[in-house]
Amino acid sequence: MSVPDTRAKPREDVTPQSLGLSEADVLDMYYYLRLARAVDDRMWALQRSGKAAFVISGQGHEGAQVGTVYALNREKDWLVPFYRSVAAVLTKGMPAAEIFLIQLGKAPDPSSGGRQMPGHYGHRHYKILSTSSPVTTQCLHAAGIAYAAKVRHTGEIALTELGDGSTSEGDFAEALNFSAIHRLGVLFVVENNGYAISVPLSKQMAVPNVAARAAGFGMAGVTVDGSHVLHAYAAAREAAARARRGEGPTLLEVLVPRLTAHSSDDQQEKYRSADEIARDRARDPVHVFTEELRGWGILTDVREKEILSRIQHEIDLGTEMAEEAALPDPATATRHVYAEPPDPRFRA
């Protein structure tokens, strides 16, 4: 039983310079990272204050999401997200206000008009596919999007995100296989936080790293430490380049901590030790990237303050706007089951 150990190696070598990134670029990534965390914190605040029914959080996953999505052509390429994709959708262009509209189930919510639970992001304008709840189905959608891009010669690639547990659904293997056969431009980003709700990785798979699955489908597989924004960025940039060269899909596993319970309905203390939860805190991408940027002399107190006050402003405006927005009108609830106008003579 030989399993290629693709566990992430520490990579001192990865720096903005080594990647040819300007200070502006990395500070832009830092902005999205902090924005995602601030939006997420506000989501929890809205839930605790009884204004939001439910929160599913991206805390701990933000660094990997910012890094991978930043490697895309964010106007041209597709994002096929999942429920933890707060940072991913923000980096792809979705304004913070839209997330609060989803969170509060308000009528102007562009993802679903208040029809879906919080966490179900989507917006065609930003080429973010609408999210459903059944896990892993989106992997095949990303493959289909990439197939269309290939035959239509649009040059688009598709990045889809899922969790470690979700790799156990048959649709995951099917999507890898179809994408590999047609050498499609798909990045399968598995955000491995070690748990599927309460189920640890050891009960989810018999390999240390799910990236090991790639080889058996004839595609590239990579594992990186997702707490390092630039490691995720570097791996995604390579994968995107491979994809654009027609060399097919990549299974990119990013190792991330889950810094909250699974959702506002879960109590993780029941199945995770206090130690482990504490250890994960040290892997907080916000902490890690802040230290790195300071170490590289890119982030100063002044700049950090600027960024945070800009974010504070966006969050407050977004929340305010969302809170003031109207709830959906039940008279609209029967709309858009089918294209309009439906023919009144027939029943469904």
Binding site: A107, M117, G165, V199
Partner: protein, 327 residues
């Protein structure tokens, strides 16, 4: 006799059966250390160990497919599907394999198992955490389906399902878990699969319902009673096989029928009950057998005003009943 929540009645029934029969294995997502996302399997992992209370990978086809193999080789599986909305990846394993094994092998093999499925709306679960699935499975020969509405039935029908020689889909309504309490007989209390029961006698109209809608229908009947309309409320409880006899006897008494379910109306299970009444109870009927179901949109929308619009309640049921009585 003890007063229990619907949730605890299921838990206790499961615990008692596992203690009684060492062949029983519970398997599903998060059923182990966490005790299930709703807490139904709480403590079973500690009481019966990892081999019998199995946290599966996140894969519903796996849950049902391996359960079939377990059943064939001497275990008695009680798989849990975390939410009814997520049973669909197992549709093929249930329809093509579990439901058909006995028939296709001409009785050489059988496949006893009890598939526990939390379902239903009114819990802010939106499109993908609110679904009712009975219509899909009622159409599959080889399966049985129960939908208990009370703590007593929750425990008694679970025991009957686990002891049944054929595969049973056990539908537990999420909104009833903590909102409904009731007396549950102590000891080995079994409620047989099949019989429906009249929960409230009446002479003016029969209301047929199950699960959460049973309680809304009883509340509607009380409201109607205050208006001098005596509604009989029949708890269907077993969806498959269906107790046509009890249903037809009720219609013979009241000459009017209203069938209520929260699931989408079009081609829902209510159509079977209504069609059966129309065909076999035709001469009893003074008014059209009428269905009240959820709106025909792809799921329960999330935002409160939309969810309230979707979900049926005592008021909507009473209004529909008045129309049938006034016919």
């Amino acid at each position: 006799m003890a007063d229990k929540r619907y949730l605890d009645a299921i838990h206790d029934g499961l615990h008692e059966e596992m203690a009684r029969d060492a062949r029983i294995v519970v398997l599903g997502e998060d059923v182990g250390r966490k005790g299930g996302v709703f807490g139904v399997t709480d403590g079973l992992y500690q009481a019966f160990g990892e081999a019998r209370v199995l946290d599966t990978p996140l894969a519903e086809s796996t849950i049902i497919g391996v359960a079939l193999g377990m059943s064939v080789n001497g275990l008695l599986p009680v798989p849990e599907i975390q939410f009814a909305d997520f049973i669909h990846p197992a549709f093929d394993q249930i329809l093509s394999e579990v439901a058909r094994l006995r028939y296709r092998s001409n009785n050489d093999y059988d496949c006893p198992m009890t598939i526990r499925v939390p379902y239903g709306g009114g819990v802010h679960g939106a499109l993908y955490h609110s679904q009712s699935i009975e219509a899909f499975y009622a159409h599959i020969p080889g399966l049985k389906i129960v939908a208990p509405g009370t703590p007593e039935d929750a425990k008694g029908l679970l025991k009957a399902a686990i002891r049944d020689p054929d595969p049973v889909i056990y539908l537990e309504h999420k909104k009833l878990y903590r909102s409904i309490r009731g007396d549950v007989p102590d000891g080995d209390h079994v409620v047989p699969i099949g019989p429906a029961v009249v929960r409230r006698p009446g002479r003016d109209i029969s209301i047929f319902a199950y699960g959460l809608m049973l309680h809304e229908s009883l509340a509607a009947a009380d409201a109607l009673g205050r208006e001098g309309v005596e509604a009989e409320v029949v708890d269907v409880r077993t969806i498959k096989p269906l107790d046509a006899g009890t249903i037809l006897e009720s219609v013979e008494r009241t000459n009017r029928a209203l069938i209520v379910h929260e699931d989408n109306r079009f081609a829902g299970f209510g159509a079977e009950i209504a069609a059966m009444i129309a065909e076999e109870g035709f001469r009893f009927l003074d008014a059209p057998p009428t269905r009240l179901g959820g709106p025909d949109v792809p799921g329960v929308p999330f935002s409160t005003p939309l969810e309230d619009w979707f979900m049926l309640d005592a008021g909507k049921i009473a209004a529909a009943a008045r129309n049938v009585v006034a016919y």
